[in-house]
Amino acid sequence: MSDVWIQLVLLADSTLRLATPLVFCALAGMFTERAGVVDIGLEGKMLGSAFAAAAVASVTGSAWAGLAAAIVFSCMLAMVHGFACITHRGDQVVSGVALNIMVAGLGPTLADAWFHQAGRINVTGPSARFTPIELPLTETIGQVPILGTLYVELLSGHNILVYLAALALPLSAWVLYRTRFGLRIRAVGENPSAVDTAGISVEALRYRALLVTGALCGFAGAYLSIAQNAGFQRDMSAGKGYLALAALIFGKWRPVPAVLGCLLFAFADAAQARLQGVAVPGIGQIPTQLIQAIPYLLTILLLAGFVGRAIAPRAIGQPYVKER
């Protein structure tokens, strides 16, 4: 019994770890997409900020400096996206794809040139990474049966970014639904003309949404390279940006359901790692590749309307041009 319980708690624990970058990324994408700009470039922003975080953290030895660099670099990428899609009304999908590809090449190129480790950056040293935080009273509460395990194994012992991700959800939801900025973001994604005639600059608003997205993606990237792993390597985001985008769509562009989508996909990932080589009674061995493909298959099914229906913000994908 207690063995199964521990297994389950550990599974939940690794779900949280795997969900963290997805949560940051999905919430990031929510701001841009609710503002009416498609963001295929979450993947690139996450990968780029993973590179920036690792590079700066390994040079300065400070994880916080790494995080700051990640945010700055990710915001820069977001501004390029804005320059193309908002200022020059370029195709938003094309711009996102361009940034993803550029960053996929740029990371290893710069890493190779500056760190000479075949496109990798190793981040070592105690303060260069975000390390697990022990929550208070683990000793005492750990004694309590069942719930104690929950506290010690699941809630305690994560690095600060995991807790920040948990905080990012209520904060994002509050901003989106309860503030002036959020009202305007939601409005501009539905009817930019209404925003324009209300005396608000559509362009400035969308740029600001992109900055929020950039910042949140910075957290996701920093988590990858200086919290979850000890450094940067090529393609280390491995489709997580797309997965977060899928979760965002899965959650119909709303914060809580999107985060639930992230948790679901992270759970599939965590379970996959545990099921490797394990024979399930009655079915036999489940190919890990099948489990890996599940989030993508689920998203396709959702988009096809077989599980619910995702209705996008009305003005998404269209550059804003004044009516004539």
Partner: protein
């Protein structure tokens, strides 16, 4: 050249609410406003009248800061001001109700009003205060609206009230309304006019843009007339007449009726039985209509936009699958657009730039849309016969006076009237038995309107059946042999050309049936 602005005397001691001096605006090759001057006395209702494309909306959008004038000065309350964005004009006390409402559909009324005037970083701060202010405004101006209703669930008349509330909430002393009655029945329009008079009594200024003479005469104090981007005259409404205004608008004497011989209806061509049609959201928009169109007659369908005419037209053309009922052309049921065309149905759609033409295609490519399967245009191996296609297009352009006569030119480079003539040529030249026409003169200049009207009459006289759907009452009245009035998916009445007049149709458009009236 510009008329004499001095003819309208400023009322009392107040400086004019708005004064424009030498406003000029170009959109690429289009000169939308030429050296326009205007004085709107404070505390009056001022009409701006002109044809579609005369530059009225552009001018108002310049005052509102949505567009920027290339040259000219704007004075508000006697003070010259710079208007760079709507924010500046809102600050100067100007509000505008656009032709297409600037509302966020999934938002509530309150959220829409708050947008841009939130009164704080969080919404809670402003919302409670706004609610009070709005309730006061609703009382003062008889603008009842449920503040917590979602816009998408409100009828258009109420949405318009939300727009007026929005402007008043921002402290508008001058309210500009751009073609506000396009979506209203004559009766709803009268209600709107009562609101406008109310605003005037409270000392506010109203600028009403319209192309309908009736509205100018009904509600304005002064009127300014625009033609082809220029301000051509200013009049005191009480001292002018419909005829004079019409002449000023068009620049010459206009016949308000098209001359035509009596119809000689033949055998039924289009037969519709108990047709029910839903829109994209699954809402039933046509609720069981039956009618017949015979050879050699024009049947007009009148109604305020959005009462199911669009869905009806699309169902008749086979574009939209009806939920129930039967549509036959010469006895053959309509299944889809391609099949319907083969059986003699032609269709000039309501929205030519969305449906009738392919944006990004040149004229000759557009000339075969829908007929591209004809063996005149495609050989047996499936290759297009470009020589034939271009020649045919050239011939039609000459016959329908499409200018410039350039089959290689992008369709969107033609003016609205020339685009419509191209569509008309395509649909009329394939010898149809039935012609469906939706809003044939929307966004079309007056010269082309006359041409199009004459062609439609000629079709009728050649023994074709014509079904005309239009929200322009004048057009319906002058072309139709029989008139069906549509309201909320039903026909509220049928009138012969002889017995129809604006008042009778107006009542039917508002859903007042003959028996009830």
């Amino acid at each position: 050249m510009a008329g004499d602005p001095g003819r309208i005397e400023p009322a009392g001691a107040r400086p004019p609410a708005i004064e424009l001096r030498g406003i000029d605006k170009r959109f690429g090759a289009v000169h939308a406003n030429r050296n326009v001057s205007l004085i709107v006395p404070a505390g009056t209702i001022h009409g701006i009248i002109g044809e579609n494309g005369a530059g009225k909306s552009t001018l108002m959008n310049i005052i509102y800061g949505y567009y920027h004038a290339d040259a000219g000065t704007i004075l508000v309350d006697g003070q010259p001001i710079t208007i760079r964005s709507p924010q500046d004009s809102i600050r100067a006390g100007i509000g505008m109700v656009h032709q297409h409402f600037m509302l966020v559909e999934p938002f509530t009324v309150l959220e829409n009003v708050l947008l841009g005037a939130e009164g704080g970083v969080t919404l809670e701060e402003g919302a409670a205060k706004a609610r009070e202010t709005l309730q006061a405004l609703e009382r003062d101006y008889a603008l009842e609206v449920d503040l917590d209703a979602r816009i998408e669930n409100l009828p258009v008349g109420v949405q318009q009230r939300v727009e007026i509330l929005k402007a008043l909430f921002r402290g508008a002393r001058t309210l500009i309304l751009d073609e506000p009655t396009g979506v209203l029945t004559p009766q709803e329009a009268d209600h709107l006019f009562r609101i406008l008079r109310n605003l005037k009594e409270q000392g506010r200024t109203v600028v009403l843009i319209t192309h309908k003479l009736r509205e100018i005469m009904a509600v304005t104090d002064n009127v300014s007339v625009m033609r082809q981007g220029e301000m051509v005259a200013h009049r005191v409404t009480a001292q002018t007449s419909r005829e004079e205004l019409a002449e000023l608008m068009v620049g010459r004497k206009v016949l308000l009726r098209v001359e035509k011989a009596p119809a000689r209806p033949g055998a039924p061509v289009l037969e519709v039985e108990d047709l029910r049609v839903t829109d994209d959201l699954g809402v039933e928009r046509v609720k069981g209509v039956s009618f017949t169109v015979r050879a050699g007659e024009i049947v007009g369908i009148a109604g305020v936009a959005g009462n199911g005419q669009s869905q009806l037209l699309e169902a008749l053309a086979g574009i939209r699958r009806p939920r129930a009922g039967r549509v036959t052309v010469k006895g053959v049921p309509v299944i889809d657009p391609a099949q319907a065309r083969r059986h003699g149905l032609a269709h000039v759609p309501e929205d030519r730039l969305r449906m009738g033409l392919v944006r990004g295609f040149v004229a000759y490519e557009n000339a075969i849309l829908g007929y591209h399967v004809d063996k005149d245009y495609v050989d047996e191996r499936g290759f297009l016969r470009f020589g034939n296609i271009v020649d045919t297009c050239k011939r039609w352009m000459a016959g329908y006076d499409v200018r410039p006569q350039a089959p290689q030119l992008q369709a969107t480079s033609f003016s609205g009237g020339n685009q419509q003539k191209l569509v008309l040529a395509r649909e009329m030249e394939h010898d149809p038995d039935l012609l469906l026409v939706g809003q044939p003169t929307r966004g079309v200049d007056i010269g082309a309107i006359e041409f199009i009207h004459r062609r439609l009459i000629a079709m009728r006289d050649a023994g074709k059946a014509v079904l005309l759907v239009s929200v322009e009452l004048d057009e319906i009245l002058s072309l139709s042999d029989r008139i069906l009035v549509m309201f909320d998916g039903h026909f509220t009445g049928e009138l012969s050309a002889a017995e129809a007049d604006e008042r009778k149709i107006g009542l039917l458009m508002a859903g007042v049936t003959a028996e009830a009236a």
